[in-house]
Symmetry: D2
Subunit: 382 residues, 4 copies
C-alpha cells in the first residue's frame, strides 16, 4: 500500500524475462506498437494525438515539455504540494518565466483563482498536478481546463498518480504524462506521455530542450514503432516496455472503466475505515479526495512509528512528505492491483498498530465500517 513504486504482478515481471530480445526484433516492435496504441486509449486521447514512452520517469517526462517551449515563454505552475513545486524547479533551469500559485496544505488551487490569473496575463503553458502524491489531493483539472482553454497555448497535466486509476481524458489538455511505476503497475524506468495535435505542432528545433529529453528526437521512433517498423534514436528500455505491454493487456482485460471504479471503491472503503476508527484525512474537501493516495492525520503517535510497526503486519505505507505537515501524517497508497481484501486488511492492521502505539481510536469500528461499506457491494448505493 505504498504510493509507488507499487506492488507489481509477477505476470508482468515475467514478461521481462528475455535473454535475447533486441530493439529491432519483431517481438519487441509488436509489443511497443501495442503499448503506444494502448497508452493513447488509457489517456482518453484522440487518434491524432502522439504517445511517447521514453526512458526515465515522471520527472524526465515533466522536463520533456521543454520541447514545446521557446526562450522567454511564460509558464503558470499550479501547485498543491511537493510535486507541483517540482515544475517550478525544473523550469527554473531554462530561459523561461515561471509564476507559481500555491494552495495551502489540505487545500487545492481553485479553478476560479486560476482563471483569474490567466485572464490577467497571457501564459504559453499552464501545468497542473492531477493527484498530488505528497498529500493525495486531486485538482479538478477538467473544470480548470475548460475555463482556461481560450486563454493559454498549452495545458499540461502531471498524471503520475492518476493515470489508469482516475478518469483521464485529453479534452482541452495538451500533454498528459505519467510514469511506469505508479498505477500502471510496472517497474520504474519509463515516462509515458501523450501530446495533443496542438502540442505536436509546437515541437521545433528551436525549443529550449536539450537532446535526450527532446521529444523532437523521439517522435520519429514513436511513429515508426507504432507503424510496426523498428527505429532508433537512443536505446529503449526493451524489457520494461515488454512489461508495460503486459500491464496494458491486463488493464485492457479488466477494462479501464472497471479499473477506475475499483480504485474508487477501494479508496472510499479505506476512507470509511479511517473515519470509522475516528481519524481524519489530509484533504479538507471531499471533492479533492483521490482514488490513489490518502493522507491520514494522527493526533498522538509519531507517524514514522506507525510506518515502522505496520511493516511487521506485512503492510507498507508511505511517509508524509509535505514540509508544512511534517510529523503530522502518513500516506496510504491504493493504486495498481489493490482490491477489497487490501482495503480491509490495511484498515485492520492500522487499527491494531495505532491501538498498540496508544493513538486513541475506536478499535474494531474502522474495520466494521469498511466491511459494511464493501458489503453494499456497489459504490452507487452509498
Amino acid at each position: 500500500m505504498h504510493v509507488g513504486p507499487v506492488t507489481i504482478d509477477y505476470d508482468v515481471l515475467i514478461e521481462g524475462m528475455k535473454g535475447d530480445v533486441g530493439f529491432t526484433s519483431k517481438e519487441f516492435v509488436d509489443a511497443f506498437q501495442y503499448s503506444l496504441k494502448s497508452l493513447r486509449k488509457i489517456m482518453g486521447a484522440q487518434e491524432n494525438s502522439q504517445p511517447f514512452i521514453i526512458p526515465g520517469g515522471g520527472t524526465s517526462a515533466m522536463e520533456s515539455v521543454t520541447s514545446l517551449l521557446r526562450k522567454d515563454d511564460k509558464i503558470l505552475v499550479i501547485s498543491n504540494g511537493v510535486f507541483g513545486d517540482r515544475w517550478e524547479k525544473i523550469l527554473s533551469r531554462y530561459p523561461v518565466h515561471v509564476k507559481t500559485i500555491r494552495a495551502k496544505p489540505g487545500d487545492y488551487v481553485t479553478p476560479d483563482d486560476i482563471e483569474k490569473e490567466v485572464s490577467k496575463e497571457h501564459y504559453n503553458m499552464v501545468t497542473m498536478t492531477h493527484v498530488e502524491t505528497s498529500t493525495g489531493i486531486r485538482e479538478p483539472i477538467y473544470e480548470v481546463s475548460k475555463k482556461i482553454r481560450n486563454y493559454v497555448d498549452l495545458i499540461v497535466v502531471d498524471g503520475v498518480s492518476s493515470v489508469s486509476a482516475e478518469e483521464v481524458k485529453m479534452d482541452n489538455i495538451d500533454v498528459f504524462l505519467t510514469a511506469s511505476q505508479k498505477a500502471i503497475g510496472t517497474p520504474p524506468g519509463a515516462g509515458l506521455l501523450v501530446l495533443s495535435e496542438n502540442a505536436v505542432s509546437r515541437l521545433s528545433d528551436n525549443s529550449i530542450a536539450g537532446y535526450y529529453l527532446n521529444l523532437k528526437n523521439w517522435i520519429d521512433v514513436m511513429k515508426s514503432m507504432e507503424e510496426g517498423r523498428a527505429a532508433y534514436f537512443s536505446t529503449l528500455p526493451v524489457h520494461l516496455i515488454l512489461m508495460i505491454t503486459k500491464a496494458f493487456k491486463l488493464i485492457e482485460k479488466e477494462g479501464i472503466e472497471n479499473r477506475i471504479r475499483r480504485h474508487e471503491k477501494v479508496a472510499a472503503a479505506i476512507r470509511t475505515g479511517i473515519e470509522g476508527m475516528g481519524l481524519s484525512i489530509v484533504a479538507k474537501h471531499p471533492e479533492a479526495y483521490s482514488n490513489t493516495v490518502t493522507g491520514v492525520i494522527v493526533n498522538k503517535v509519531n507517524p514514522s512509528e506507525v510506518l515502522k510497526e505496520i511493516v511487521n503486519e506485512g503492510i507498507e505505507l508511505a511517509p508524509g512528505v509535505h514540509p508544512d505537515l511534517a510529523g503530522k501524517y502518513f500516506r496510504i497508497g491504493h493504486m495498481g492491483w489493490v482490491n477489497e481484501n487490501d482495503a480491509i486488511s490495511t484498515i485492520a492492521a492500522l487499527e491494531r498498530v495505532l491501538s498498540r502505539l496508544g493513538e486513541p481510536i475506536r478499535l474494531g469500528e474502522g474495520v466494521r465500517s469498511t466491511q459494511l461499506y464493501l458489503s453494499k457491494g456497489n459504490i452507487s448505493n452509498l
Copy 2:
C-alpha cells in the same frame, strides 16, 4: 553476437523478479551501495571519485556532462564515427562552442593530431569514444589523455562499448561513462558514470545542465546510498539496479582482469577466423582493433542478406551503420558473456551463410584457423 543490447544471463534477469521492493528498502539500498562501489572498481577509479547510476542510457549519461559546463565553454569532440558525432549533436543544444575532429572511415584520430589542436587553443573539455560502436575502432585514450592532460580542464570518455571488456582506468580522465545494456550484460535503462575529484569540484548550480540529467541533483542520492542510507531525488530504476548488482557480482567472481582477457581472446579468435576465410576488417590498424566490436567487410554479397540469413543459424549480428561505409560491412558484437564456443560457432555459421550466398571465401578454413588459435590456449603464445 549483437553490439547491444547483448545477451543477458538469466541469473541477472531473475534478480529483478521482485514484486514489492521499494527504493527505501534495505535490500535495495544494500544492492545500490554494492553497485556504486563496484562501478568505481570496474572503472579503475580512485576512492575520491564519485560513481553515478542514473535512469536513461549512454546518450543521457553523455548529456549529463553538461553538469560540468558553463555558458560559452569550449569543447573539442574527437570522433571516429556515429557515436563520436553524437557528442556534437548533444552539445549543439547548449550555449557552448564545439569543435569536432573526425577520422576517416577505418581510421582513428591520432594522439598527435589531438595534441596539436589542444595546444593551439584552450578547451574546457575534450570528449573521446573509447570503442566506436559503429565501426569497432578503438581510440588510444590513455596515450591521448597523457599528452593533453595539461592543456585541458576536463577529459571525458564514452566507454559504452568498452567498460568491463577493455582495460579501463581513470588516470588522467575526469569522466568515464557507460550504459547498462552493453558489456556489463544487463537490460537497457541506466547510464553509469564515474566523475574524478576534479570533475566533482566543477559541479555547480550555474552549469548549463537541465534538471533530470543534472548530476548536481543526483550526487547527494549517490553519496547517501553508498553510505547505506536511502535518499530520493527522482525514482530510480530499482529492478534494473538489482540486476546491475548481480551482474557486478558475476563480474567480480570472474575477475575483471580475466574478463578483459576473455574478451580479448574471443575477439582475436573471431578476427583470426574472419581472416582465415579470406575477408578483411573495417579497422585498418591492428592497434585499433577492439575487444568488443568487429566490422567485417564483404566484397560481393549484401551485408543485410548475411544478417537475415544468419539469424536462421541461431546467431544475430548487427548492421554496419557508418554512413560512409553503407552497404559494405556488418558488425559482430563480442561482449558480455561471450566465450570460445561463441567464437567458433559464429565463424562456422558465418562461413556457411557467406558460402551459400555466393561470397568467395575459403570454406572450412575460417573455422579451422579459429580452432587452431583457440587451441594454443593462451593469447601470449601467438
Copy 3:
C-alpha cells in the same frame, strides 16, 4: 486459502529457474544435502533417523511404507476421513491383512479405542492421519503413540496437512511423511518422509514393495547426497528440490516454533470469525481443531455456490469432500505463508458472499471478532 496446492512464494518458484542444473552438480548436491538435514529437523527427528525426498506426492510416500512390510503382516488403519481410508485402499493391493477403525464424521478415533484394539491383537503397523485434510480434524497422535508403542512394531503418521504447521516430533513414531505442495509451500511433485532407526532396520529385500517406491532402492542415494556426494537410482526432481531447499531456508529463517504459532493464530482467528458470524465448524471437539484446515458448515446456501462466488473476491476455498457430509460444508485451508491479513480478509469476504447468497449470518460481526482476537496480539492472552 486452499487446502493444497497452497500459494507459493515467488522467491521459492524462482529457485527452480535453472536451465542447466544436473543431478550431479555441486549446486544440486549441496541443496539436497541441506534439504535432507532440514527435513530431519522439521520432523523433530533424531540424528540416527533417515530422511527421504522422493518423486511423487503424499500417496506415493504412503505407499512407500510397503518397504517396511512383509507378506501377511497385519496393519491397523485409523481413519478420520477420506485420507485415512486411503491407507486401506493402498494396502489392499498388497498381500497383507488390514483392519480399519473409522470415526464418525466430525469425530476422531480416540486413543482408548486404538489402545483397546492393539492390545487385543498384534499389529505390525498402525497408520494414522495427523490432520485429516477432508475435514480438518486432528488426531492426538502423540497420546496414541505413547499408549500403543509397546504393542506394535511400527507407527506411521501421514503428516501431509500438518508438517511445518502443527507440532511434529518423532518420539514413539517410526515414519512421518508429508508432501511438497502443502504447508511447506512448494509445487507438488515430491513426497518427503523420515524413518526412525527402528524403521530403517526393517528395510529389506524381502519386503512386499515394488521397485520405484521401494525405499531400499533410494536409501543409498539419500545417504550419499546427505554426505555431499552425487548418487543415482532414478532421476530426482532436481528443480523441485531446489525450491524445497529455498522453502526450508525460509522456514528456518522464520523459525519452526514461530511458524507453528503463526498457523495456530491464523487458524484461531478464522474460527473466531466463523463463530462470530454465527456459523459452526465440522470438527466437533476443540481439541481436534487443526492449524491448517477448517471445515465450515452452512445451513441454507449451497457450499459450491460459496466457492464459486468467493473466487470473485480474490479468495479460493476448497470443497467439502467427506462423502457423509456432502453438500453441507466447505473447507478453508490456512497453511503455508498465511498471515493475519489473510485471516481478516477471508472472513470479511466470506461474510459478504454468504450475506449476498442469503445465508443468515451476523454481517460485520465475524470480521469484528477476528479483529478483536487479533488485536490481543498474542494467543496466550485468550
Copy 4:
C-alpha cells in the same frame, strides 16, 4: 550436451512461475488437455489410444506397465545395456516370470533372435529400449514389432531417450513411454506414456500393480482432463505439467518432423567430427546409431578427465556407465534444443581438451569435418 536432464529453455521454465494455480483451475485443465492430446500426436498414436502424464519419471513409467500384467505372466526383456536391464530389476519385484536376452556391448539384440525366442514360447509382454541411454545404441523396434506382433500379447517400448528426437509411432506397439527431462526438454518429475487400445483393454483390478503407479487409478483422471473437466486421484505436478504444455507447443511450432531431422543432423555432424579427429564410436553398426546419444571411445586418456576438463570449456558431457566398458568411453547427449552451433562447438572443445590431455587426435580436422558436413546444409545430400 548431457544425456539428461537436458538444458531447458527459459520460456519453458517461466511457464511454471505460478504462485496460485490449482489442479482444478481452468488454466491448468486447459493445459493438461493440450498436453495429453499433444502427447498422443508426438507418440504417433491412434485416436483410440490413451495418453498418461503421471508423477515420477522413466522408471515409474516403466513400472506402471505392471497395471497390464497378472500373476505368473511371462515377460521377455530385450536388453542392450543398463536401462534394458532395469526392466528385469523392476519385474523381479513382482510375481511374474522374466527372461532377458542381452546384447554384447556395442551390439544390439537382433530382430531375428527376438523372433526366434517368442516363436518358441508364448510371452505376455516383450519390453524393448528404443535408444539405450547407457551406450547410445538404437534397437530397430519397428522391425522387431512387425516380426513378433502375432506371437505376443503386449509390446512395450522404453522411449526415454527417443521420444521427440527419433521417429516414434505406435504401429504394432502397445505401450510407448518417456520421461519429462529428456528430449522434450522440461524438468524431471513426470513419466509420460501412451497405451494402445489393446493395452487399455487389459487394465484390470486384478493386475499385479500397486496403487500409485497403477494406471487403472489414473485413467479416469486422464480421460476427464482430456475432456476439459478437473478430476482427482492424487495431486498432479501442476507446475511441471504447465511447463510440459509449453514444451509441447514449442515442439508443435518446430514441427515434429523438423525436430527429428534436426536431431538427426546434429547427431550426424557430431559423429562426423568424432571420426574426423580420429576416434571411434561405441555403437558398432551404423544402423544402430541414435539421434540422441553418442558413446565415444578414447584410447589413451581417462574419460573422466575429459569430462572434468571440458566443463571449463562451458560444455558438459556424460560418463560412460555400461559396466563392461567402464573407463573406456564417455557419452555426448544431443537432445532437446541442440543445434548446429552446439555440434560445432562441442567438437571444437573436445578436440582442444583431448589434445591438451594427450590423446592422439587430428587437431582441427574434427571441427573441419563437422563444418563441411553442416555446410552441405541438408542431410539428404550426404
